[in-house]
Symmetry: C2
Subunit: 328 residues, 2 copies
Amino acid sequence: MRALIVDDNRVDLALDRAEPVPAPGEVLVRVLVAGICETDLQLIRGYKGFRGVLGHEFVGIATTGRFAGQRVVGEINCSCWTCDTCRAGRPGHCPSRTVLGILGHDGAFAEYIAVPDRNLHRVPDKVDTDVAVFAEPLAAAFQIPAQLPIARTDRIVVLGDGRLGNLCAQVLARESDHVTVAGKHPSKLALLERLGISTRVVNASGLEAGFSNQSQEGADIVVDCTGSAAGLATALELVRPRGTIVLKTTIAGEQTLSLAPVVVDEITIIGSRCGPFDLALEALAAGRIDARTLIHDRFDLTDGVRALQRAAEPGVLKVLIDVGADAG
Amino acid sequence: MRALIVDDNRVDLALDRAEPVPAPGEVLVRVLVAGICETDLQLIRGYKGFRGVLGHEFVGIATTGRFAGQRVVGEINCSCWTCDTCRAGRPGHCPSRTVLGILGHDGAFAEYIAVPDRNLHRVPDKVDTDVAVFAEPLAAAFQIPAQLPIARTDRIVVLGDGRLGNLCAQVLARESDHVTVAGKHPSKLALLERLGISTRVVNASGLEAGFSNQSQEGADIVVDCTGSAAGLATALELVRPRGTIVLKTTIAGEQTLSLAPVVVDEITIIGSRCGPFDLALEALAAGRIDARTLIHDRFDLTDGVRALQRAAEPGVLKVLIDVGADAG
């Protein structure tokens, strides 16, 4: 089968990759469409030393299992379900987990992917395949309200106007009336403005004067979706005393910063990763999230290397990879 | 009056310092006993650039106000009570606050200190003055259960066996049955063992093998009282996925560390500072906290410089400064 393979800091299209052999409990899924995420670009640059088929955002047709013949999306953590962590209700943190297209498990930029049956969710009929492919990143955005209570009066700043920042802002704007996105790209911010979410342009020298003064105190919650080492320091400047910073993006390598303000101002910092697929699919089915305007380009799997290059260009939001036809 | 004055990275005894003049709302308190804290030692080394009378842990006799003639302890943050932050219920974070002996306000290593009347708490008759002087650091320890819910089954590790680590461990051991203190000083750890709190010796090369395996998963809560830049990195190694790290000590300067584990393991980091005096005094009155065994030495105010040197020696817990007699 055709597949995009990452190895030794480069990615190539293979034409004769063997189809994955499902392990016990796994289902072979025929991929229809896949989405490119910032993590994919980091993996190509060597993050986590991953080798194999890239890709973890996908919609496909299950060939067997509970949803045989139906459109499915899949949670990415493949857990053992027997260790202390899994039994404590934290399977996403299973120490022996593999992760689709990220850690020890081939991914979705291929004609077929093997996925644990219990990881699959059926795509509601009314959700188009191009929209359903956002289930995984949108679930990650829904993890924020799952982790911390949000009030309608909370002043929230989302740092970063990229793929994840956009989805986080849309999710949070349903919980609070005071969401502002701070980003570098006027065209990306315009998408959010059109959805009624307020935005601010930041430049290389930082935030414009007065930005932190949403109130005298600063923001109740700052969500860092910058993917930049500077994100946390900026968040610490913007958050009010006893406020909360949500770290949404992993930064490879070490960072240098002063943590004294965390103690003096009694800040809470919460790391946030994967989230609830059911809420994401429900929101997409109800049309409460605008995913379609995030699609900036699409390529056939055969042009997958170009697709990845395109996704790395500044100003580009979601790039899709068309893999197979939905023949039903 | 006599007073210990910090200025230009040194501390000296003044014999003729003018008595403080209480501002509106302030009360003149005649100091009986004061305690030396790690922050005092940092202030002498230049932290925050403080100049003036040092000291923020004290018991005294109020000369006027609500508690005139009675023994009092005092909260250290002097707030404006009119700004957004104060009106939002966070006076301890008032941006224009002064802090007794720390920021813009003379402290308690002197015969008299001026304190806002509303900051004062009467010392219950049954609490000895030497014990009441622990109200301020003990309140800081009580801030931890005030910030996060703690279950009896929570596995808690306190990093650091110093003054604050000891008090935090004692407070947390009343909430959970699984508190362990990791420290470098066998004599300090022995005090905790005698109170029924389990301990582990750590050395320069880190924690002993197997320490993190309280369970397969790691600790639910790690409290960093090390006062060291390495504390957070150690805490990240010990905490379980979705666990909580409480940062209890400020570290001057910048630190370098990798924050990716915070996101991947969805860790919560909470900064924690001053706490509820009422709970601290109640616990001291009920004899639920052993403060007395922490008193390692005491000096008259006239020997205050020696007292500060003594408090900086390794292995020394609380050093008290005797200022005035409790003539009533």
